[in-house]
């Protein structure tokens, strides 16, 4: 059953210099359904595919608001994500209470990065089995960050994590130059197209299985900028967006290779 003798805990290196428990945790992220995030000069969006365990059950939530300016998309163990989400929520609330401002997104992401890293260096602890995309706006504009169970965090222009996310990333790489100047709606549509790339053959985006989260900076009439609070759109609210990408074939080709993992049921 064991792959080797070096994967019983997260404090032992293998002779090749790997920590298997952390790598396994990264695998858990790939079990989750795909989420995509893109940031432009004005907005940061998250889009996600929700899964239902069976036809009769409801769909598992994928996007969570953290504070008025930040939200996350999760791939992996939802319960682990809830712990991180609560932690982030508390930190943002505390920061707002002591400084009266939105917590800088980078600061927030680095906090969960440090928190997750601790789990990879203490005997008896377990890395978080979840990956996050953190999207938000602060004084410096919109941001998108990736978070991995290893504690790695990185700022991204656009990214996708979760099952079959390679196809979505391929789409994003192909269109990367367009994102910066996209407006709100275009950015969401790019997100949804990337999401479609990762779907298995006979699956489609529907109002039931698609979530969209948006935050951004909006220019007011007097030239000042205001934060568009992070909001999750579900159900009927996403109909128009899904229809707008229903029959375009942009970037559809070249998505034939990629992993053959069949997890998206």
């Amino acid at each position: 059953m064991f792959r080797n003798n070096y994967d019983n805990d997260s404090v032992t290196f293998s002779p090749q210099g790997r920590i298997f428990q952390v790598e396994y945790a990264a695998e858990a992220v790939k079990q989750g359904s795909v989420v995509v995030g893109i940031a432009s000069k004005t907005h940061a969006v998250l889009v996600a595919i929700k899964r239902n365990a069976e036809e009769l059950s409801s769909y598992q939530k994928k996007l969570f608001p953290i504070d008025e300016h930040v939200g996350i998309a999760i791939a992996g163990l939802t319960s682990d994500a809830r712990v991180l989400s609560n932690f982030m929520k508390q930190q943002c609330l505390g920061h707002r209470l002591t400084y009266g401002r939105n917590m800088p997104v980078r600061t927030l992401v680095e906090m969960i990065g440090s928190k997750a890293q601790v789990n990879t260096q203490h005997y008896g602890k377990r890395p978080y089995g979840v990956g996050l995309l953190v999207a938000g706006v602060d004084e410096q504009g919109p941001h998108l960050f990736e978070f991995q169970p290893s504690g790695m965090t990185e700022e991204m222009v656009a990214f996708a994590i979760g099952a079959r996310s390679q196809m979505a990333r391929t789409y994003l790489e192909k269109n990367i130059d367009k994102f910066a100047d996209c407006d709100r709606e275009e950015l969401i549509r790019h997100g949804l197209r990337a999401l479609k790339e990762s779907l298995v053959q006979d699956r489609e985006l529907t109002v039931d299985n698609t979530s969209v989260g948006v935050s951004g900076v909006v220019k007011a009439d007097d030239g000042s900028t205001k934060v568009e609070p992070f909001r999750v759109y579900d159900g009927q609210e996403v109909t128009a967006w899904i229809e707008s990408v229903a029959d375009d074939k942009e970037g559809g080709a070249g998505a034939t290779e990629g992993e053959s993992m069949e997890v998206d049921s």
């Binding site: 608001p65 008025e68 929520k89 609330l93 707002r96 209470l97 609070p229």
Partner: protein, 264 residues
């Protein structure tokens, strides 16, 4: 303790130096100790109507005989999704020691925000009122020296006003005045809102007169009462003045107005 009295006429004005520690030391010897409280003056008022609640407070902040600020709001929207409280539906007014008032407000607001996060819906006024009482009582032995009034609409859409003492006793009322000029405004409210001591002329023999029947006041009437109450308080209390902040809570949200008061 004079500190917890709302009646300046009986105990003299509620200045912090009147509440200093009483020393048993012999004449001439003085003990100096840190007093964590002061009274920052000001007054608040809330009246519940049939389908609205009006909350009001002056905007003066004093310490002793000095005016620290002419614009320091005492009314706060509570429990909105964002920090600009655009979708809030509850208003908290605090008067007494301003720093405690601020701390109390932020505590309640943080709790309402967490409630919204956990339950995906805003807190009802009734629940918020109970929670506020708990918050105050948790500091029973080092109280928030603040007289709080909470206003909103109840589950039936009727105006609701909850008033508190600094350690958390609370009740739902039709109207309540708080702070420095409470003792000046409250009797006026008793008479004008609840029609106390109003009798129908020639409705009986001697003192056995029939009481004037109560009726719910309209929003315009209530707003007039609030303005009159504060104009009166400004005239007779040195700690009240500068500006009148008024919030009207209806089913459509919260309307806020700022009116001038005498600055002398």
């Amino acid at each position: 303790m004079a500190m917890f009295s709302q009646n300046p006429l009986l105990n003299g004005p509620n200045y912090s130096f009147n509440d200093g520690p009483i020393s048993n030391a012999p004449e001439g010897a003085r003990q100096h100790r840190f007093d964590p409280y002061t009274d920052n003056g000001g007054s608040t008022l809330a009246i519940a109507g049939a389908d609205f609640t009006v909350m009001a407070g002056d905007t003066r902040l004093t310490s002793g005989y000095s005016i620290n600020s002419r614009h320091h709001p005492k009314l706060f929207k509570i429990g909105g999704t964002t920090s600009d409280q655009k979708d809030a539906n509850i208003v908290l007014s605090v008067v007494g020691f301003a720093a405690d008032g601020e701390a109390l407000k932020e505590r309640l607001d943080a709790i309402c925000k967490m409630y919204r996060y956990r339950h995906g819906k805003p807190m009802s006024v009734k629940a918020c009122a109970q929670r506020l009482s708990t918050i105050l009582y948790q500091k029973r032995f080092f109280p928030y020296y603040a007289y709080a009034i909470l206003g909103g609409l109840d589950e039936e859409g009727k105006g609701a006003v909850y008033s508190y003492d600094p350690v958390g006793s609370y009740e739902r009322e039709q109207c309540r005045a708080g702070g420095a000029a409470a003792s000046l405004i409250m009797p006026f409210l008793d008479n004008q809102v609840n029609f106390k001591n109003q009798y129908i002329p020639n409705s009986g023999e001697g003192h056995a007169l029939q009481e004037r029947e109560r009726r719910p006041l309209t929003r315009d009437e209530v707003e007039m009462l609030v303005k009159d109450a504060f104009d009166g308080a400004v005239e007779r209390h040195i700690e009240v003045g500068d500006g009148l902040q008024m919030m009207v809570i209806t089913k459509d949200g919260i309307e806020e107005v700022l009116l001038p008061l005498k600055k002398d």
